[in-house]
């Protein structure tokens, strides 16, 4: 049940995001601009969390 909810939320989110992206491009913005920004931001935080945990395990 929980997985189904997750799939519904993700599916809805993806569709909404695509709709917004189309509007954004229609407004004259660079396509995929915010997608790249969000993905690179999240990638930075995931890497930073991993790296800091490894460093902190070393000093403790």
């Amino acid at each position: 049940m929980e997985n189904l909810n997750m799939v519904i939320v993700l599916g809805f989110g993806t569709l909404l995001m695509l709709g917004i992206e189309l509007t954004h491009v229609h407004e004259g913005h660079f396509p995929g601009y915010n997608i790249i920004l969000a993905i690179s931001g999240c990638a930075y935080f995931i890497t930073a969390i991993k790296a800091l945990r490894i460093i902190q395990r070393g000093v403790s």
């Binding site: 993700l10 989110g13 509007t23 954004h24 601009y33 935080f45 969390i49 945990r53």
Partner: protein, 624 residues
């Protein structure tokens, strides 16, 4: 003390030795209301005390409204040839004063159930002294209230009455005394170079650049410590989570925001400050993501959000300063609300770690709703107050790509962090027996949440009182769509990688690890090499004193002793036969040194004195 009244026309011709009060408005400095009002608290009980606690901030808000937004000086105290100004108001100080007053009222409402009079007293002095800093018309008055603020705020940590809180309080006050000392040194040098104590932009003067650079650096360090510049920030995540539940709510508002206000007065438009803001924004949120303790996590978010304010001020344009100052206003509201929610959770569950929390959404619905509002506000989601001011700062940073990227990344991280708190603290399934927060807490939280939404929907509420004219349209289609899309993708990534952001109950180290290591190294240096050096010096001094004493007791005998000693050394080198005779004479001299005083003939004594005098004259003439 004599009182003299004057109108707004000027204060040039007033008799010496008196206090000047502005007659046109007849307002009281808000600081006086809180500082004086605190003294009655211990004498009141029950509902009378509750009403009184709310009456004082209410009076302060009325007083603030009566102060007109124009530059004028009143309550001027002549002191050592200078004019100390207790009340100087312009649009900037009034803007910050309003939010300090409003949140002071709400925080006191939240803490009405606290029975400890000491906590209320400290809180009143803390709010009062913060307002004292905001309305101070000169650097010395500012410094005076700055120090009161440090002392009154540390009491809110110590009132938790746990060993870890007392230790953290000592570290907090040590850091603030260091910052205060830097500020004092900077102000004194500034006064020496400019002959002025007026609070104005600090610049490096061409007349005396060396001294003014020193003043610039010291004032920046002093202000930067309160504004949690990296790496002077360690006191905040160390002390705030260890304060009392209500104390942490007060602490989250005043110290850092007073620092931002003073920064806006003294260092607007400094590029290095802008980049420091960007670093703070990203650093704070990165460390917040590592935290397990909910109040420690929120403390790191203070660093991050103050980073936005610092960046705005550092950019220095009208948009940047407006954005930074508007963010002070909005941040105070949602951060106080977040600390209120965290306090309510800790108050009811006795737990503060995300690993131990969960399932609160059903048991504490009002707390959950207010938390969600605060989380959306701090993240800068459309329709909440953070969206307005954060958007202004990011817009102002548009021409500085690195700074802009730092702020955008920090924004993504903030949303991730609050998705984590929301999920692990409130929404994940977990059985927990807990009641909703007390009514007074809920009322304070609901009013604060309402203000977050109201400003988010109708930003003109703050635009109309900002220091500069606002030329910003937060609800432009591009901004709304761009922000929504950014958060939507971030949300999807969070859901996909839920386990990556899960809380851990490990201790996380910050720059304080280096400070503690350095302190240990310093102590080792004091105990070992420094002490050895000191004891060597001590031993040499004692031996030298002993030798001088030995010599002065029988100078001729001592000289004879030295002669025998050197003679014996020479003979032993040559392995001469009569060395034994000299050794015997030396032993006899050693025995008789203190008993048999040698006498010098008068002629020889005079000759020696003349030689010494001649030597002294030669030295004198040589100019040594």
């Amino acid at each position: 003390m004599r009182l003299f009244y004057h109108s707004n026309q000027g204060i040039a011709n007033y008799p010496e030795g008196g206090v000047i009060i502005d007659m046109d408005t007849m307002v009281v400095p808000p600081v006086v209301i809180f500082l004086a009002g605190a003294f009655l608290i211990p004498f009141l009980k029950g509902n009378a005390k509750r009403c009184y606690l709310l009456l004082i901030p209410f009076l302060a808000i009325i007083d603030l409204v009566l102060i007109e937004p124009q530059v004028y000086n009143s309550y001027v105290f002549p002191f050592l040839g200078m004019e100390l100004i207790l009340l100087q108001a312009d649009k900037l100080s009034l803007f910050v004063g309003y939010i300090f007053g409003i949140i002071g009222f709400l925080n006191i409402l939240y803490s009405l159930n606290v029975k400890d009079n000491g906590q209320h007293f400290s809180a009143f002095w803390y709010i009062g002294s913060s307002l004292g800093v905001v309305f101070a018309g000169d650097f010395f008055t500012l410094l005076f209230f700055w120090e009161i603020m440090a002392v009154s705020s540390v009491c809110l940590i110590w009132y938790q009455k746990k060993k870890e809180s007392i230790d953290a309080g000592f570290r907090y006050i040590l850091m603030h005394l260091f910052g205060g000392s830097c500020l004092l040194i900077g102000i004194v040098i500034h006064y020496v170079t400019t002959k002025s104590i007026e609070i104005s932009t600090i610049e490096i003067s061409a007349i005396d650049p060396n001294l003014s650079i020193l003043s610039y650096i010291f004032i920046l360090i002093g202000v930067g410590l309160n504004t949690v510049f990296i790496p002077l920030h360690t006191w905040l995540p160390d002390a705030y989570p260890r304060a009392t539940i209500t104390g942490a709510v007060f602490l989250s508002v005043y110290t850092t925001k007073t620092g931002v206000y003073v920064l806006a007065r003294t260092f607007p438009g400094v590029e290095a400050v802008a980049y420091m803001g960007g670093i703070m924004a990203l650093f704070g949120v990165t460390f917040a993501l590592l935290q397990n303790d909910i109040r420690k996590l929120l403390s790191y978010h203070i660093i991050s959000q103050v980073g936005y304010m610092v960046a705005g001020i550092g950019i220095g344009t009208a948009m940047g300063i407006n954005g930074g100052i508007a963010h002070v206003f909005n941040h105070i509201l949602y951060k106080a609300l977040l600390f209120m929610c965290a306090g309510a959770v800790i108050h009811r569950t006795g737990r503060s770690n995300l690993t131990e929390l969960g399932g609160l959404a059903r048991k504490m619905p009002v707390t959950t709703i207010t938390f969600v509002i605060a989380a959306l506000s701090i993240s800068g989601v459309v329709g909440f107050n953070g969206f307005i001011s954060k958007g202004m700062v990011i817009e102002a940073a548009h021409h500085q790509p690195i700074l802009w990227l730092l702020l955008e990344f920090a924004s993504i991280g903030t949303f991730l962090s609050f998705l984590k708190v929301g999920y692990y603290g409130f929404f994940r399934k977990r059985e927990i027996e807990v009641k909703e927060a007390p009514k007074v807490m809920l009322i304070a939280m609901s009013i604060t949440a309402f203000l977050c939404v109201a400003i988010g929907i109708y930003p003109d509420l703050i635009f109309s009182i900002l220091p500069h004219t606002v030329d910003y349209h937060p609800f432009s289609l591009g901004h709304v769509i761009g922000t929504s899309q950014l958060f939507m993708i971030t949300g999807i990534i969070f859901l996909l990688g839920l386990h990556l952001f899960g809380p851990h109950d490990r201790i996380t180290y910050d720059f304080d690890y280096l400070y503690r290591k350095s302190a240990k190294l310093f102590l080792w240096f004091c105990k070992n090499p420094l002490m050895k050096f000191a004891s060597t010096i001590d031993r040499i001094t004692i031996r030298a004193a002993g030798t001088i004493l030995w010599f002065s007791r029988n100078p001729l005998g001592a000289m004879k002793h030295i002669r025998y000693e050197s003679h014996l050394f020479y003979l032993e080198l040559r392995k001469a036969e009569h060395a034994v005779e000299v050794a015997i004479k030396l032993e006899e001299q050693k025995v008789s040194h203190l008993n048999k005083h040698e006498q010098m003939s008068i002629g020889l004594a005079i000759l020696l004195i003349i030689i010494i005098l001649l030597f002294y004259i030669l030295l004198y003439m040589a100019g040594i």
